[in-house]
């Protein structure tokens, strides 16, 4: 793959895009930090994950979505286009092994294209910026999974298409179509909300929020394995079409089954340093001790911004903290406009241990005491200390631009040139290898 132009071109394109995003993020972070210089409350809201890492890697995400398919398709598309596939499938390796090797090669290419983004992390650390190891590694894992998902889709597209151009169109239909799902349907009620969850971007979102979700991990791995398996089925030109269709159906059913089961897995670890995905530790312990089922009925339309707040601040955290939580949308399938005449609209009903209470709040400071009241226990005393301090930093973002617009592109061009140099031929082949 390193001999092709696609990988190096993508790297060169990434340099200014990530450089600009990083500089903008550092600049905005510096402005916010200046305002928070003498105010600890403001400073505690300054998280490098939100302020610098996610915006910088956001540029990487966009470029991977649009350009990485061309790099990944090359791993297979060129061989298919030139007919070399007929040699490839005759090698001593089984087709699934070939696809696994191709996927590993594309993963290697991903490790190369992430270099500009990693250099942004190094620059941030060099500026004196704070990096929390767990949330940073979690973010990198999310991007790796997303890259592998794009790669698996690209390999599948290359396996079914006759030309690399057609494979690129198919892959972009997946990736850009996924954006359309994400932008157009997120927050829509009913079936649309479920369809929006199929967006590839959804695989990355928890990792950007500092959440290591086992369900998302398993679901994404199932999708990667499913597309790779489909690529293996469709790659071999010697298999009859009917056999390919039957095997594809079985793989699709298996992958969908695993992905569906993964949606039921609630195990997740809040790796964010500010613990934004969890209640305070004392409350987490108290909630974990509540063993009876908690039933929550939400009188909000899914597209209502209050529902998004409730989901982020209360419902998601409760699902992770308690063993038995059931959430019902009272107005499922009904739009926000149609629901506003309902006097109970906006209320959330909590039922625990045969007792119930209602609230319109989306803050844990109001809801947790309500739950403790239903359970008949006293609110726990908060743990001393441990508050997130925030990491304000006033850095000059312009200092990063010479690296992204000058030094790094030059290094990439040098590496490209080095990869293209003629090989050193063993003397044995030159001396004994015929009529040189």
């Amino acid at each position: 793959m390193v001999t092709g132009r696609a990988l190096w071109t993508m790297l060169l394109i990434l340099c200014p895009i990530i450089g600009y995003s990083f500089a903008q993020a550092v600049s905005l972070y510096a402005e916010a930090s200046a305002a928070a210089k003498d105010a600890p409350v403001l400073a505690s809201g300054l998280s490098p994950l939100d302020g610098v890492l996610v915006p910088s890697f956001g540029a990487f995400y966009v470029t991977v979505t649009l350009l990485f398919p061309f790099v990944a398709i090359r791993a297979l598309g060129r061989e298919k286009e030139t007919g070399t596939l007929r040699l490839l499938v005759q090698l001593r390796y089984r087709v699934p092994t070939l696809i696994a090797a191709k996927l590993a090669a594309v993963a290697g290419a991903w490790l190369i294209v992430i270099v500009p983004a990693l250099s942004a992390l190094a620059l941030w650390a060099a500026f004196g910026g704070h990096l929390h190891a767990a949330e940073t590694l979690n973010l990198l894992l999310g991007h790796l999974l997303y890259g592998l998902l794009i790669a698996a889709i690209a390999l599948f597209a290359a396996a079914i298409a006759e030309s690399a151009a057609t494979a690129a169109i198919i892959t972009l239909a997946f990736t850009i179509g996924s954006w359309v799902l994400d932008f157009a349907l997120t927050g829509q009620p009913g079936l649309f909300e479920w369809i929006a969850r199929l967006s590839l971007t959804q695989a990355l979102r928890p990792f950007e929020q500092g959440l290591f979700s086992v369900g998302v991990l398993v679901g994404t791995l199932a999708a990667i394995a499913g597309f790779a398996a489909l690529a293996a089925v469709w790659l071999h030109p010697g298999v009859p079409l009917r056999d390919k269709l039957v095997r594809s159906l079985l793989i699709a059913i298996a992958a969908a089954g695993v992905a569906l089961a993964a949606t039921q897995v609630r195990t997740a670890v809040d790796v964010a340093e500010d613990r934004r995905n969890s209640f305070p530790p004392a409350d987490e312990r108290a909630l974990k001790a509540l063993r009876e089922p908690l039933v929550i009925t939400v009188h909000l339309a899914p597209e209502d911004p209050r529902y998004a707040d409730l989901r982020r601040n209360i419902l998601g955290k409760l699902e992770r903290a308690m063993a038995h939580v059931t959430i019902r949308l009272a107005s499922s399938g009904q739009s926000m406009v149609a629901s506003t005449n309902d006097p109970s609209y906006g209320e959330v009903e909590y039922v625990y241990g045969g007792r119930s209470d209602r609230s319109r709040s989306t803050s844990h400071r109001e809801i947790l005491p309500l739950l403790y009241g239903l359970a008949g226990i006293a609110p726990p005393a908060p743990d001393p200390g441990g508050d997130y301090p925030g990491y304000p930093l006033i850095a000059k973002a312009q200092a990063a631009l010479p690296w992204f617009l000058g030094a790094l592109p030059i290094l990439i061009v040098l590496a490209w040139w080095w990869s293209c140099r003629p090989p050193r031929i063993p003397m044995r082949l030159v001396e004994e290898g015929g009529k040189a």
């Binding site: 070399t84 040699l87 010697g238 298999v239 082949l429």
Partner: protein
């Protein structure tokens, strides 16, 4: 007058290596192969003879398992040979291919040598045998047609398979090169490997092959040595061209 390259003696007495039975393949309404049956004997050079479009490439690809056949059986030493196991015993070299064309020749050769666990000596022998030394440092796409064919031949020779199916192995070679390659292929056969060559140049086929399958319109029109085909065509001392025209 034809100049025959030294042939493997007593091929007729060799055991049957592979049997192809009633192989059919259709592309939409067109029958590319219509019940093709033949057998390949160990150590022979079998020529698959026919004009362009007669089904030679389709036949080789279906036998190799890189193209699905509609019906038909293939037996290897008398036992069924499913598609998934054909790559263990058969290697098919397609025509007009520039494999991994953005790679250097030495890298492609080294890759094949590594896949089939060939030693450096074996690789050097193969490079010498096909005369690839001058272009080892070139990219595959920069090779002339002749050197491209030599590279393909080298890849086939690096494989350990007992049966090689070569599609138009002399295409792209001049007269002198063609004779060199013929000699090389006869040596390969003499060393125990079996070759099936799809050839549309009848003069070349007559020089190098032990037996012939005459193919026209996807059907077999004759199988045998030149003498047997002459007898079938009732043409006493005719060359392969006359025999082919008489039988197809």
């Amino acid at each position: 007058m034809t100049i025959a390259v030294a042939r493997t003696p007593a091929v007729e007495r060799s055991p049957v290596l592979m049997q192809v039975g009633a192989l059919t393949k259709r592309y939409c309404d067109q029958a590319a192969l219509a019940g093709v049956s033949f057998e390949v004997r160990a150590g022979e050079v079998l020529g698959l003879i026919g004009p362009n479009g007669s089904g030679k490439t389709t036949l080789l690809e279906t036998v190799a398992g890189v193209l699905p056949a509609d019906t038909g059986d293939i037996l290897w030493r008398g036992a069924p040979l499913p598609v998934g196991r054909r790559r263990d015993v058969i290697f098919y070299l397609p025509d007009g291919l520039r494999p991994w064309d953005d790679q250097f020749v030495s890298h492609v050769l080294a890759f094949f040598a590594a896949v089939y666990e060939r030693s450096e000596e074996e690789l050097a022998d193969t490079v010498r045998a096909v005369g690839l030394s001058p272009v080892l440092g070139k990219r595959v796409l920069a090779l002339s047609k002749g050197y491209g064919r030599r590279l393909m031949l080298a890849l086939a020779l690096l494989t350990p398979h007992p049966l090689l199916l070569l599609d138009e192995p002399f295409d792209g070679f001049d007269l002198r090169q063609t004779r060199e390659v013929m000699t090389l292929l006869r040596q390969v056969a003499a060393n125990g490997r079996t070759l099936v060559l799809a050839i549309h140049q009848l003069a070349d086929a007559e020089r190098v092959c032990d037996r012939f399958i005459l193919l026209a319109g996807g059907a077999v029109r004759g199988i045998g040595t030149l003498a047997e085909l002459r007898a079938a065509a009732k043409l006493g001392t005719a060359g392969l061209e006359e025999v082919f025209l008489a039988l197809t």
